[in-house]
């Protein structure tokens, strides 16, 4: 009863009728019966207070959850679990017009043409000295290999680079501790360069490309510095070294069997696969001294410019590749049991955790031991010229968890690690060094990744862990055969974890990244300055608003402010014209976008931010007088924010004219 009382107290409800209380008690009982052990439920007394963020107050942490097959990145508050924003990255998004407006279409260009979708998996926040710096967040497109950089001051996608020679860009996108590189490894090995060859000649012929994409320190601009062409395994996940191991990067692998069919069975034959340790500093030095081979390639580099408000595509034609056997001492294999999935590095950089997903145990490798083994040349053979270190020589310990199907590990910065177990649906807390299990809590259900803000950096914020579950089952009213996946948040400030809340997520979140809200607050961009607008079709004062014709192309230079378009009456447009609406929002105040839509628009509406210019193409097909209007409720006179375009027959000789209030 205590629980219920404090729940209600929280909501400032003084009068509680006994019937309501009885109902609540019954509900508690009922839930208790459904789930083994009701004590972990969100109904326990302090849980609600822990996640409650009162109106007007703000969340302490921001979490960026990948949207998986939605192609988007979603922004949540912690501990409230409220969703703040969905950021389109590898998708077309009518809410903002991203991927539909002329300015943002180039962001989705690839060597395969316009690809308006991808499978977004692993966000990672930029770092300085191994700590989160809150400037950018990087994400990977898994399907048509791409890496994107999203600004954390605007929550807009600023850059997307395609990765050649990659296929299933999964061990990506992970950031080195001074954001020197975004690292992107291929999950599927393929012929490099691509060619027409029999599939069953995979073994020995296919390659796995690990790409090191440099990040310009000031602008964040991406450039593929080099690709390491590894043996044809599957490079599953990866994480950078930090502290002493900075300069190394670790990739888990499976299918060291190099099978090309019935992988479910054939890729699980070997007792051990590998974690590949790559000394990228050594390879960087090698390529800086002229090493590596330039290979012809074709990949898109798309950059969005905040001043021109325009994305542009450059097709790149060359990539520098490195044969790892030509850089002695750069790459080693660490034997790791049972098709390791997660490959996580603790905050000190000493321990590399391999989660053998078909095993019950976790394997922990020691960076120090690895260096000694390399020094002593304690090799257990080699694979395609890459030395294999002896398992016993590099292993620091084994976590005998008692769980099943370990996947991913995060850290709290207090000497503890937290690992998800997919098959046994739980989060297990264990201690680094002693490898002892401290606590375990069930998840509902089938948990994939988990995330502690900063949990994969030198400085984690070990207050909450968010578990992202694949199966939702009974968490929400089961309408339809599928529901939004469920995330769960645990308070990890104490010895034992406490489940405090669960909330639905969009798409399928894989990994997530989080940071204190403080890191974002001061950098937030509220408006784009109109006097800095360099869009070629911008109108910076309403008297520049005009309509120009060039053959069948018509350019409408339009401005908006609460609550009208200038001009709002346009005549002289003809059927068969290609009409460009270039709209500049003249507002200079926070949170006053204007929308634009016109009947029969074959793309989507636009949402134009204060000071921004965006363009929509409209191809009128029918004679008539057609309205356009603002889609974003902008003021008390929003309903009046509308206009008309007169469309005459193709043969008409009516001259162009435009006006406002005449």
């Amino acid at each position: 009863m205590n629980n219920i009382k404090s729940n209600f107290k929280l909501k400032q409800m003084k009068k509680i009728s006994y019937s309501v209380m009885a109902l609540f008690a019954a509900a508690t009982l009922f839930t208790g019966c459904n789930q083994q052990g009701s004590a972990n439920g969100a109904l326990s007394s302090s849980a609600a207070e822990k996640v409650y963020v009162a109106p007007g107050e703000q969340d302490e942490y921001y979490a960026f959850l990948s949207g998986g097959y939605s192609g988007n990145l979603t922004v949540y508050g912690l501990p409230s679990g409220r969703m703040f924003k969905e950021i389109p990255v590898f998708s077309q998004f009518p809410t903002s017009g991203y991927g539909y407006s002329e300015e943002t279409k180039p962001m989705l260009n690839t060597s395969f043409g316009f690809v308006p979708w991808d499978d977004l998996h692993h966000p990672d926040i930029s770092q300085t000295n191994g700590e989160l710096d809150g400037r950018w967040i990087f994400v990977n497109g898994n399907n048509t290999p791409r890496i994107a950089r999203v600004s954390l001051s605007t929550f807009e996608t600023e850059e997307i680079i395609e990765i050649p020679n990659s296929a299933g860009n999964h061990s990506s996108s992970f950031i080195t501790e001074n954001t020197e590189y975004v690292i992107a490894g291929t999950r599927f090995s393929v012929p490099v360069p691509q060619r027409d060859m029999p599939i069953n000649e995979y073994k020995g012929n296919f390659k796995g490309a690990l790409s090191f994409i440099s990040v310009a320190p000031e602008t964040g601009r991406l450039d593929i510095k080099f690709q390491v062409l590894m043996p044809g395994f599957n490079y599953d996940l990866s994480h950078p070294g930090r502290g002493a191991s900075h300069g190394w990067h670790f990739f888990s692998t499976y299918n060291t069997e190099e099978s090309n069919s019935l992988m479910e069975v054939n890729a699980s034959q070997n007792d051990k696969d590998f974690i590949a340790a790559v000394n990228w500093k050594k390879i960087e030095e090698y390529v800086n001294n002229g090493g590596g081979t330039k290979m012809a390639a074709n990949y898109a580099h798309n950059v969005y410019n905040d001043e021109t408000h325009m994305g542009t595509t450059t097709m790149k034609k060359e990539v520098l590749t490195v044969d790892p056997t030509e850089v002695p001492g750069a790459v080693f294999f660490l034997p790791t049991p049972k098709s390791p999935h997660g490959c996580d590095v603790d905050p000190s950089g000493e321990y590399i955790i391999g989660a053998g997903k078909l095993s019950a145990d976790l394997t922990v490798h020691s960076f120090t031991k690895m260096l000694s083994a390399i020094e002593g040349e304690k090799f257990d053979g080699e694979a395609y010229g890459i030395p294999i270190l002896k398992f016993e020589d590099v292993m620091a310990g084994v976590v005998r968890s008692g769980g099943l199907g370990p996947l991913h590990t995060e850290f709290d910065g207090k000497g503890n690690a937290y690992t998800t177990f997919f098959i046994s649906s739980e989060v297990v807390k264990w201690q680094l060094g002693s490898w002892e299990v401290i606590d375990r809590k069930p998840t509902y259900y089938s948990v994939g990744h988990l995330m502690i803000p900063g949990g994969n950096s030198r400085k984690p914020f070990g207050k909450y862990v968010v578990a992202m579950n694949k199966i939702t089952k009974d968490r929400y009213l089961p309408t339809g055969p599928e529901m939004e996946h469920s995330a769960q948040i645990y308070d990890i400030s104490g010895e034992k974890m406490e489940l405090i809340y669960d909330f639905p997520t969009h798409g399928e979140p894989h990994y997530a990244a989080g940071c204190p809200a403080e890191l974002l607050r001061d950098n937030s961009k509220k408006i784009y300055r109109l006097d800095e607008n360099k869009h070629p079709y911008a109108v910076t004062s309403p008297d520049q608003a005009r309509v120009e014709r060039s053959g069948k192309e018509v350019h409408i230079y339009m401005s908006t402010i609460r609550s009208h378009f200038t001009p709002d009456n346009i005549e002289g447009i003809k059927v068969g014209d290609k009409v460009y609406f270039h709209i500049t929002n003249h507002e200079q105040d926070f949170d006053v976008p204007h929308g634009f839509s016109i009947i029969g628009q074959n793309t989507s509406e636009l949402l134009i931010m204060p000071g921004q210019t965006k363009t929509s193409i409209w191809e009128p097909k029918q004679v008539g007088v057609w309205p356009f209007y603002c889609t974003d409720f902008c003021s008390a006179l929003h309903q009046e924010m509308q206009g008309y375009v007169r469309v005459s027959p193709a043969s008409s000789s009516l001259p162009l004219s435009w006006s406002l209030g005449e």
Partner: protein, 168 residues
């Protein structure tokens, strides 16, 4: 008799459209109604204040905001006024014409009706002014509920606009 005209006009225009006619003659179909509304508003509007907010003279009021006191030099600083005209053109002309009522009021003789402080406060934080200043609130009503946009100008920029207003 009059109500017959719009109906006829409509029918006529329908005919024209059907025949593929290009130019449609302007017909003020609802002129009767429109006149009525105008008469009505004239008779009912100035119940609370005889003078509409746009015409009101409140030179001793400084408004609400960061500009507390400002003394103008007797001579107009032409360089500053020119800068102000440029800022006005980019940030204000979407809703204001200098000599003609548009979305918002005109500025013809504005300094005979408003103090320099009031003008700058209105430019710098229109939302605060509408919340706390009587005249600003009345202006919002007089101008059809069209809220003035905060254009995020600096004190210096708004000061330039004020100087430009002095030339009007």
């Amino acid at each position: 008799m009059k109500s017959c005209i719009p109906i006829c006009a409509c029918l006529f225009s329908l005919l024209l459209i059907a025949c593929g006619g290009k130019e449609e003659k302007k017909e003020d179909g609802f002129s009767v109604t429109r006149t009525k509304t105008e008469q009505k508003s004239e008779s009912t509007a100035p119940v609370t204040d005889e003078v509409p907010a746009s015409k009101r003279v409140i030179l001793d009021e400084k408004g609400v905001g960061q500009i507390k006191s400002l003394t103008l030099d007797p001579t107009i600083d032409t360089a500053m006024a020119e800068a102000g005209a440029a800022i006005f053109k980019t940030n204000c002309t979407a809703c204001h014409k200098p000599y003609k009522r548009f979305i918002g009021p005109s500025f013809d003789g504005i300094l005979e009706r408003r103090s320099p402080e009031w003008i700058m406060n209105m430019i710098l934080d229109p939302q605060l002014m509408v919340e706390q200043d009587r005249c600003a609130k009345d202006l919002l009503v007089e101008f059809n509920g069209a809220a003035m946009a905060n254009q995020n100008l600096t004190v210096e920029q708004s000061r330039s606009i004020l100087e430009y207003f002095r030339t009007l």
